[in-house]
């Protein structure tokens, strides 16, 4: 890899041990991928959440010393490195658990260790100390970090990455905790993958016959397509109605987890796809398929695994609900109450919650017996994995099956989920 003078200086340790170690990691990672150079970035979205069985970390690492913990688990070194401050503008992903609703959540099925709370709180203190903006959301673009077209970013969170590349025209690869932290410390990311024009071209045509209208339709389109295209860049053609923000958030979130899709094009909608020719760069696509009513039905059937109509948990808000979605839910819950057998949880960011409060929606949620949770994810809801759960996000359907062992899941629209919360019965269907 060719390094510039300032990059070489960091690698040599002239800016201290933290930037030196971060640069070593970037070089190691870049050489693994075959990257030839680095590019400046001043936009990092950093994952530090503990959403896998935290006892593995707690049992094997010293967590009382946060600098030591970060050095081992993120900087991957046995030396204890004290980080002073991030170099790039950096926002935070979810902190894992909403500390105001600890009893409703867990990182893993069963019991989180007692000292897990100390770790979550300690990590937030650490991030503040090193100058991270505590957005604590999976959707930085709606919480104060909206990258511009062409801006080089180093982001974590697969849904946000797909949204940034595809909808915003910003440029980011799918970074993990380790590489995003290295980028935050150095202000550099690999000049590779989606940072380069040629790698952003669509490679797989999805002819959209079943026109997506509702949020759920976009979610289903993404869920089906991710499985179908694998690691290609899908180009959705024949979409006749321009989608809203949350519809594209739904598409980005489901297509990214069922496939290795970090970028897509919707011809006539997304900025690098005014035409099919622009989206593909006139290159011959690797393949194509039709997405019709049958494919939509298959996706819906695959997602639904429950059999009992009595619902015990409704967990909605993935990706974190934006204001439009929170407003819809407030309207649906006006003068209604959730059933006494059902727990209703609504996930969003702290920033959106503040607006919901000021808009009077929090009063509606409170009166309805719904709980609004921030800093976290529907998948962290504490529940018996065999309980009957209603979800309106295929990302959560996909992830909770694999990670939490949730076996009895109803998937449907937000309206279906709210109705289930109010009546206690699942009545959703594919309309």
């Amino acid at each position: 890899m060719r390094l510039t003078t300032d990059e070489q200086a960091m690698l040599n340790g002239q800016e201290g041990p933290a930037r030196k170690r971060a640069m070593e990691l970037l070089v190691e990672y870049g050489e693994a991928l075959g990257a030839e150079s680095l590019v400046d970035t001043n936009n990092v979205h950093l994952l530090t959440a503990f959403h896998f069985c935290p006892e593995i970390l707690l049992n094997n690492l010293e967590v009382a010393n946060i600098d030591e913990f970060i050095s081992r688990s993120v900087l991957l070194t046995d030396d204890t490195i004290v980080v002073d401050r991030v170099k790039a503008f950096t926002t935070s992903h979810n902190t894992t658990i909403d500390v105001d609703h600890w009893d409703l959540q867990e990182a893993t099925t069963g019991h989180d260790p007692d000292n897990f709370r100390d770790l979550v709180v300690g990590m937030e203190k650490y991030l503040r100390r090193i100058g991270v903006a505590m957005t604590s959301t999976c959707c930085p673009y709606m919480s104060g970090n909206l990258p511009m077209r062409g801006e080089h970013c180093a982001w974590t969170e697969s849904s946000a990455i797909a949204f940034a590349n595809s909808v915003l025209g910003a440029r980011t690869n799918i970074e993990g905790d380790h590489s995003a932290f290295a980028s935050a410390l150095t202000g550099k990311t690999l000049n590779w993958g989606f940072h380069l024009d040629d790698n952003r071209l669509g490679s797989y045509i999805v002819h959209v016959e079943a026109q997506p209208q509702a949020v759920m339709d976009w979610d289903l389109l993404g869920y089906y397509s991710g499985f179908a295209v694998g690691n290609q860049i899908p180009v959705f053609v024949n979409v006749k109605t321009a989608p809203s923000m949350f519809k594209l958030m739904a598409l980005a979130s489901s297509v990214a987890v069922t496939g290795a899709v970090n970028m897509f094009h919707v011809v006539g909608v997304t900025p690098e796809a005014h035409t099919v020719e622009q989206a593909t760069g006139r290159k011959k696509p690797e393949g194509r398929f039709e997405y019709g009513p049958e494919q939509r039905q298959q996706a819906y059937a695959r997602a639904n695994t429950a059999t009992k109509e009595d619902v015990e948990l409704v967990a909605i808000g993935c990706p974190h609900y934006n204001l439009e979605r929170l407003g819809v839910v407030a309207q649906l819950l006006e003068n209604r109450k959730s059933n006494h057998n059902v727990k209703l949880l609504i996930y969003t960011s702290t920033q959106m919650k503040a607006v919901a409060e000021r808009s009077g929606w929090m009063d509606v949620f409170n009166r309805a017996g719904a709980t609004v949770i921030t800093d976290s994810c529907p998948m962290h809801t504490r529940t018996d994995p065999s309980s009957t759960i209603a979800l309106d996000s295929l990302k959560i359907v996909n992830q909770s099956g694999g990670q939490k062992g949730w076996k009895n899941v109803w998937y449907g629209s937000t309206e279906d989920c709210i109705n289930a919360a109010v009546t206690g019965k699942w009545r959703g269907e594919l309309r």
Partner: protein
């Protein structure tokens, strides 16, 4: 016993030998593999229920959540990482995970590893020199 030899590009050095576990489908480490056990947990995945710990995992690409490298680190810490892995199309998730797990890793082989290697084959991965040896009775 004869050996088939493949040459590729080294992603991470070191040498490991073990039993191959091969899939044609992308692997998600976050929400696809239980770091406590190494079991593949993704519903309907062709490896669902199989265990990757200590195996030579042969797969086309990494997919899913960006927490891939975090889960890789967790797998390693819990002693459930693969002994080595062979990646047909290396991508950011798998490259970073190789660095986090520090396991022998090879990509860009001169033949498609998914068709040459079968589950159960004895495989030696020399990550340092980019050499894969497949032993079959």
């Amino acid at each position: 016993m004869s050996a088939i030899v493949l040459h590729g590009r080294s992603i991470y050095g070191g040498v490991a030998e073990g039993e191959a576990l091969v899939t044609n489908q992308g692997i998600a480490l976050c929400a696809g593999v239980d770091p406590h056990t190494g079991d593949v947990t993704e519903r309907n995945h062709e490896l669902e229920g199989k265990n990757i710990a200590g195996r030579i995992l042969v797969f086309p690409f990494g997919k899913g959540s960006s927490a891939f490298s975090k889960f890789a680190y967790g797998l390693k810490l819990a002693g459930n990482a693969p002994a080595a892995w062979i990646i047909r199309d290396v991508n950011p998730q798998t490259a970073l995970a190789s660095v986090a797990m520090k396991i022998p890793t090879i990509t860009g082989l001169d033949q498609d590893p998914l068709s040459v290697i079968s589950t159960g084959d004895r495989v030696k991965v020399d990550g340092t020199n980019g050499i894969v040896e497949i032993f079959r009775h």
